[in-house]
Point group: C2
Chain length 160, copies 2
């Protein structure tokens, strides 16, 4: 049987997120939760729809949960839970990029400390890099805040 368009979309998101450090299976889960109907699904549903083992779904959801991309909610009536993507999941994801920049800046500092003379021409390559990442590190949070106030606040949206 041909996989559905929705299924293939989840697959694509999985591939993309894999290239960003997540595993394909976990990215697939996130992709599916972005478009699935109903938007909240149980472990069994996810496992079935995506052809993943219960184990993969279980650990996958835990990982996504700890990253703040997904959340468990108690399912009313039936026992057990149901998972759904958080409204700002991908914003959360994008915001995290800032940490990477900080790590690189730290590496540049360490490199400079290694050279005899931080002011020598030889140290130029490291100084420029450090200053660049320091700049990014400083500006990115401002950018995020700008988006929040210009967009989210204007539209009166929250993340529950």
């Amino acid at each position: 049987m041909e996989p559905s368009r929705e299924r293939r979309y989840a697959e694509e998101v999985g591939v993309k997120l894999a290239s960003l450090g997540m595993t394909p299976a976990y990215g697939k889960l996130l992709g599916w939760l972005l478009i699935c109907d109903p938007p909240s699904q149980s472990l069994a549903q996810l496992s079935g729809s995506l052809g993943l083992s219960k184990g993969s779904v279980s650990t996958g959801m835990r990982v996504l949960d700890r990253l703040g991309l997904v959340r468990r909610v108690a399912a009313p009536g039936t026992r057990g839970h149901v998972y759904e993507v958080t409204p700002n999941a991908l914003i959360e994801l994008g915001s995290r990029a800032g940490e990477q920049y900080a790590a690189i800046r730290a590496l540049m500092e360490r490199g400079l400390a290694l050279l005899d003379d931080e002011d020598s021409p030889r140290a130029e390559r490291l100084r420029v890099s450090r200053d660049f990442y320091a700049f990014i590190e400083r500006e990115v949070p401002k950018l995020l805040e700008q988006f929040r106030s210009e967009y989210l606040r204007r539209e009166g949206k929250g993340d529950g």
Copy 2:
């Protein structure tokens, strides 16, 4: 024999860049070129200093070259070439992040197209994400330009 501080630094950079999609060996090469003395080194020197095979260094330098992080220069006198890191290597690297954002935005668009009604509440999660990445995609180039004019131009630096 205990590895030198420089060698260990290269190693660290390798690990970090590996977490960003590069392979450890290639990241190691870049790390070494950031701090080594002399700053331009031959394939044989790199291979020896870092304990990598000639093959790894050869392909690694080609990859780094195509990414604009490193360049070959003809060595005067002796036959053969010599490699050095470009002054703005890590800036180049950081700037490339913008492409990732564009790819994610495209994915969000595709997701929206998959839903029956793009304006439905169900589509909210995707709309917000799309708008966020579009915002970032728009703002990041401005930020890079800002850095160039405020820092590089002020200091009168170029990348040859």
